[in-house]
Symmetry: C2
Subunit: 112 residues, 2 copies
């Protein structure tokens, strides 16, 4: 039997919930967006995101590495350089971020 309700999502999905709470954790969405825009050095990330501390950035980058969204590249020069970038899984968030940006641009003025 085909119903209109068939087009709706399941009311609850654990994968959805994990994903939305992962990208929405404090600072995390902002960090992922900056990485998407090719900001790849630790100090540049701190500089670009207002209020972000070194400690919080370290913590979030470790979480995002553990989730497979971010990878850390050590460039063996003197002095050693470290760069961060999105993995394929992290880059695949591009459509999510574009949808959030479009929604925020359309509706932010309506916020109380």
């Amino acid at each position: 039997m085909v119903t209109i309700r068939g087009a709706q999502p399941e009311p609850y999905c654990p994968y959805f919930r994990h994903a939305v709470e992962l990208i929405g954790r404090r600072w995390t969405g902002a960090i992922l967006r900056a990485l998407q825009a090719d900001v790849c050095h630790f100090s540049a990330l701190v500089g670009v995101i207002p209020g972000l501390s070194d400690r919080m950035l370290s913590e979030r980058l470790r979480e995002l590495e553990a989730e497979g969204l971010v990878e850390r590249h050590v460039i063996p020069e003197m002095p050693v350089r470290v760069e961060y970038g999105l993995t394929a899984k992290g880059r695949a968030l591009g459509e999510v971020f574009a949808a959030i940006s479009a929604w925020a641009a359309a509706w932010h003025d309506d916020a109380p």
Copy 2:
């Protein structure tokens, strides 16, 4: 001057950050998804989202009303019934949630 970088988002956007941290707050994404699927009674929302307490649901619904995403309808029957639903601003998150669902479905097996 046109450059490839022109196609990328700004590294930081306060509206984006507010939006992603709003929908990603603990329980909030799950509540909005259930409302999107027409779960509209308080007790049904508690029943559908594993681990959600009455107290947390009340708090999140108040936050979402304040943000203009959710509205509360009091139906003057005896006993009085209360229903919750998405506003136009809340319903406009449909594309965001579809993108997150698609990403979660494609990538959750790769999570550690």
